[in-house]
Symmetry: C3
Subunit: 328 residues, 3 copies
């Protein structure tokens, strides 16, 4: 992931011995080998490091191209023989720590950027751009022609906003790429780190966040919404999708195109939602689910399992609408 703009302090590489040390693991081989990236077992390239602690990922572990892998004792024997194992009691937590070593800015939202007064450098922009009062916009930010930004808006390092966008007032955008013709209404926060951590010796080890929020063309987002940036992958809102007010989208959620999501809906982390999906007000969708295309979810539903294409569901837990009507 090319996140240079979002991570000015990212390291180019780690030495394998640093990783062994962090995992409190005996240094077995190649201490001076350079590790250049972090990734999943499946997506790792040569010189990447990954982690493996769950036999559900057996096949990925056998075929991974990662040069090193943090692994627990149980899983070690299944790992690709070309991958250097780094034994850990808690591979996931140690992997989080490695990510944070690579990206020191991955753990916390950074308010410390040197903002500039965008209005004073208007000469750099097409005159059709409007920027309201008291805005704090980083000098690396890009804003397309004919876009309008309201008042008291914060836009942080590396954010890109397309053409013809309307950004309301009191909006905060960070770690995000925003397409053309996008509307983001007042009070909405986009791109903050998400929720999640593990405890180790009663200390919190936070999920690292190096993903972005990708808002595609023609998306509309209501007031007082929160869209968390991705953890290891991106959070995505597909083109022509619309969110009403007070919607919460957690990290790594992917929403397809032409979806309509009504007020006060919450989508938990890593759930994928297809195209043309309609979600009624106050509904919630659990994490790590797959919701198909053309799905309709009635208001105030609680979705706790995958939903097939073209289904209409309602209830808590959500079931087929006909069943819901029968048993209500």
């Amino acid at each position: 992931m090319d996140n240079n703009l979002f991570f000015s302090k990212a390291k180019k590489f780690l030495l394998l011995k640093e990783i062994f040390l962090l995992c409190k693991s005996e240094i077995t081989e190649h201490p001076k080998k350079k590790i250049f990236g972090i990734n999943s077992l499946k997506n790792s390239k040569l010189n990447d490091i990954s982690f493996f602690d769950n036999l559900n990922y057996l096949k990925d572990a056998q075929s991974t191209k990662a040069s090193a892998c943090i692994v627990n004792e149980k899983c070690q024997k299944y790992l690709n023989k070309n991958t250097i194992p780094i034994i850990s009691k808690n591979p996931l937590v140690d992997f989080y720590k490695i990510v944070s070593l690579f990206y020191p800015e991955a753990n916390n939202d950074n308010e410390q950027i040197n903002f500039i007064d965008f209005n004073k450098i208007k000469k750099f922009f097409n005159k059709s751009i409007f920027i309201g009062n008291n805005c704090l916009i980083d000098k690396t930010v890009k804003i397309g022609d004919n876009s309008k930004v309201g008042n008291n808006v914060l836009i942080k390092r590396g954010v890109s906003i397309g053409k013809n966008c309307l950004i309301g007032s009191n909006v905060v955008i960070e770690n995000s790429l925003v397409g053309d013709n996008v509307i983001i209404k007042s009070g909405t926060l986009i791109g903050q780190t998400g929720f999640g951590f593990k405890f180790e010796n009663k200390k919190r080890v936070k999920f690292p966040h190096i993903g972005r929020v990708i808002i595609e063309n023609d998306v509309q987002i209501g007031t007082l919404c929160t869209l968390d940036r991705g953890s290891l992958s991106d959070t995505v809102i597909g083109e022509f999708s619309s969110l009403d007010n007070q919607v919460h989208i957690a990290h790594n959620v992917k929403i397809g195109n032409y979806c309509m999501i009504a007020g006060q809906v919450g989508i938990a982390g890593s759930t994928t939602i297809g195209n043309y999906v309609q979600i009624g007000g106050q509904s919630g969708v659990s994490g790590h689910l797959n919701i198909g295309n053309n799905v309709k979810i009635g208001g105030k539903s609680g979705v706790i399992s995958d939903i097939e294409d073209n289904s209409t569901v309602m209830g808590y837990p959500a079931k087929n609408i006909k069943e819901f009507v029968k048993t209500r």
Copy 2:
């Protein structure tokens, strides 16, 4: 509706031929006739235009005083003979477009108003008014005696605030009339355009919003609430009604007097709520419903049908409290 203060760019009239053109309809008669307003079939006056696409409104269509009406082929024959029909495949969408032609500001929240520093013109105000730091208040705004406004507050064109009001910090108010003794707590957004649109050839046609938010005397509104402005009519909060934190009130909702609405409640568009209604936390009420007087709605209920006066309901879907207790 006298919205001059909110719509500085509104047109005085449209020519009938402009409307025929927009509807891609053959110009049948009176191309130079002037249309001065838009309205429902029922409320239209002479020289207004309306729309008719649903036989539920048959009686209104027969007795309407509108001078012109956008109508589909199915409904055309039932229209009052004095009303000029303009044939459209999709009367509602075309009506939306006409409204937007009349009111170019009806589709999007406008951040582009020239704010003034209210503190610098304090001489125009009674000294008892307090305005906090970093406020952006339009010069057309009226604020009554003894009212206090917090910090970082935005109040836009045409808004009127009564006497003895307390407005918190980080509040945004637009397109709204606020009575006396009103409390609006920090972080709340009032008067933004609501949610809703139709798709036409995969392009979004947004509901126009020309209604206001009317907040009557002695209303209290909590922190981080969102109250959308009305679409064609107003959104209304009746006197002595109180909203807790994180409540969402959609466009055109009418709430009566002395209502108590607890935290995280959502009321969907065009629903009417009587007087002395109590709604428990996290409840949701669907759109276009009528909730009677003295109704009590238990916490986390999902109301999907009308409720009679003096009822107590709970559940999802909400039912009589006795039934709820029996079947839980």
Copy 3:
């Protein structure tokens, strides 16, 4: 409660005759006696005033050390003979009024404090403190070493923030004590007055709020949360507890240590939650409940009764998870 920093206008004492007058009660004895504090029957000390209108508190009434007590006619005969009774038709409402007489600032959020530009007095602080742009921070505020504060942040009179804290942007903090290593993310509002009032002759008598929000060490709070200050006691978030986005915590809620509260959860007033409690997204917990230690509450649950230690519940109303699975 030592609230001097939060209540600059608090009175040192009231004369008993002022209290008789307010309760419209005949002055029976000791009109010039000074009352120095308000409290519950149980916690009152000599020279405090309390109220008694419910026989559930019979024992407390008999053993109270309060010097005076607002009481209705039904309860009067059970009151400790050493306590001066002040007869009232509505003891709770009159007690509220007494609290407001003591603390004129107890009824409404005060935006009127004279903020100073913290950045201009950085010399008073350890250089390791970072304060963003456009912050409004009262001169009585304390901020510990290595803490960072984002942009557009308001911190009001008397607030204390510990070491190594990260405060996001657009945050408002008032009437609160914040420990070390605390993260408060952008857009969150902490310490406002809560929701609640009685009506008397169709006029609102608001619950007074003289409690604080106590945020213990290592707490994390997400974006767009609302944490109301306590009414007569404090609102407390215990150490290492974490709140996701859009969570609402009402007045007087006590949350233990190491709790995890997911997005869009609401906890109603005066509920107590133990240690190591996990609450799934969009769940709601009614007011005045006791939730034990190690309790797990599934997503979107509606909790309307106490929960024992080590239970796992889900549903609306929430029941044992096994029952929920059976009946869904």
